[in-house]
Symmetry: C2
Subunit: 342 residues, 2 copies
């Protein structure tokens, strides 16, 4: 046997075997495998059951070869070890697998050359499509894209020519978080996490939402209560909270731009002997798993990661099959998850 | 200009420009870019400074084309959103970048077919080398590898033919963790996280170390104090701790096989009103960032992730350039980081 022709499964189970066990035609099995939704739910379940029973592995490489595809999708995020991105990626990986795609993840750290490598299609023809959560690149740079690999942007909207986009409304999310604190009678609400990244990004949107909520609640805007951070790690949140307390600003609540910042802030508040939420209430954004187990558990704005991942993937897969589609801008609704920290 | 020949940088900065500014020869710049360590630290710094000043982007694709390489390395781990893996990947990405490599991450979830796709070189010729943290595959399956892309295994040792391996001594790590609890006078030490994965894996090694430490401390082995978990998420740790308390087993200390399990266990102990460490001491393994900010902060066995990543990368890069090298088995020393939870 030539080296390139590997059997799809060690046991050499075929589509025919699956079809026979599921009592459907081989074409129906193929339709289920390719994610064709015109097959009834019940039939899909039966085919999947038969696949599991027989341990069938579809010969994706043969199919991809036929379609001139790689079977790979790339997801590029600034930092893989930021839990929000890691959790989002998990949903993307699981969704993509249902369509027979393998997901490769790239960490850009917001470096422009890394983002450019991604939007320029990585190594030519290496992946069928790309999801990118951008940080460094500007709109003008997107417009100079030299590649036509299907691309969907995650996170803050940067309108490039013909680029799909999926994210939450960051102004509204920050407004909801701040209003939640004001509604609980808090009057000195601090904000941790302001940034002005080169590519725009989410932080300025969140600052805008914070100020909007203060105005609506009739609270004055006090710049000494707004603490920028260099990164969004726990350490940044802990240091920002310490700086705030050391400055004598004495907030009675803190809106953190991410859960990770909020978890760092909680650590400092505990060290300083301040009670949460009695003396200082804390809210974040991201709804990461860690906030469900922290002490106290963390109130947060949940961006609905499964829906973001699914929507982005659907847009990308559509663009892979039919390149002619108007650019889509999808805003995914967020919710507030109240826990012990407020 | 043909579509394939992209300029390396928008401003068309060349190696000569960098060399002129750094007052070195173009060859020295190339040596720094290729990670050649025979260049003095001071000269390296000057070249890097000049690169930053000019915004120079090396034309890696041309170099890779010449060497018949892709410039890509794959890292495959069971779960990207498990912080230990995410943090390890960050170190790999940063180390690889210094050598001009881009890292792609693949999440296998321990599925055999996903691990097989990785060890069989992914899409043929797509990456120059692979780091894999295996879970599902057995030694026999490695021996049937159908590809010769350089491969280094991370985590538990599985001796396949000619496969490099980097990890900690898991028996010793578990022994050290358990002894730390025994040394503090704890007598009823529970263990959370036992598993018997198909490919062997770390869990049985950690159970072995736990039992070894009990014997050395003259403590009886009580199977009711050993709680297996299906996964290693916070939820698994929280549930295992609850099950243990509900069973009436009353431990005075808990050794958790990972920090994530320990953070889940801490959550349950707090909910049940048990004081840590006074009533129950808790220790984990992994030294993830979260354990430095938890309440209480978490004592842990630190596997030295930077050294694991660097060593694995060095082995892989050596194997990419010189394929003939005896398989290496490197054990990285671990340390105990004592914090508030013990």
């Amino acid at each position: 046997m030539p080296k390139d022709q590997r059997p799809a499964t060690p046991a050499a189970v075929s589509v025919r075997d699956v079809a026979a066990l599921a009592r459907v035609s081989p074409t129906t099995v193929s339709n289920v495998l390719s994610g064709n939704r015109r097959v009834s739910e019940e039939t899909q379940d039966r085919v999947r059951w038969a696949i599991d029973q027989l341990g069938y592995r579809p010969n994706l490489s043969a199919r991809n070869l036929r379609l001139n595809r790689t079977g790979l999708i790339a997801v590029a995020v600034p930092e893989i070890d930021v839990p929000y991105f890691a959790e989002l990626i998990r949903h993307v990986v699981q969704g993509a697998r249902e369509h027979g795609y393998t997901v490769l993840v790239d960490q850009t750290e917001g470096r422009i050359e890394a983002e450019q490598f991604v939007v320029d299609g990585m190594n030519r023809g290496m992946v069928d499509g790309i999801l990118l959560s951008p940080l460094g690149m500007t709109r003008a740079e997107y417009d100079q894209r030299r590649d036509d690999t299907p691309l969907v942007l995650l996170g803050e909207r940067i309108v490039g020519k013909g680029i799909d986009h999926v994210g939450i409304d960051n102004v509204a999310a920050a407004e909801d978080a701040t209003r939640h604190l004001a509604d609980r009678g808090r009057r000195r609400i601090a904000a941790i996490g302001h940034q002005t990244p080169r590519g725009g990004g989410t932080a300025p949107q969140r600052t805008k939402g914070y100020r909007k909520a203060l105005r609506s609640a009739g609270l004055p805007y006090d710049p000494t209560l707004v603490v920028p951070t260099r990164n969004y790690h726990r350490l940044d949140g802990a240091q920002a909270m310490a700086d705030l307390l050391d400055s004598g600003a004495l907030p009675d609540a803190v809106f953190c731009y991410t859960d990770l910042l909020a978890l760092g802030a909680l650590h400092t508040l505990h060290q300083r002997g301040l009670k949460v939420p009695d003396e200082v209430a804390v809210i974040g954004i991201d709804d990461i798993d860690e906030g469900r187990y922290s002490l106290p558990t963390l109130t947060t704005i949940s961006p609905n990661k499964p829906t973001i991942a699914q929507t982005a993937l659907d847009l990308l897969l559509t663009r892979i099959t039919t390149k002619e589609q108007d650019p889509q801008q999808v805003v995914i609704p967020h919710t507030l998850e109240q826990r012990e920290s407020t």
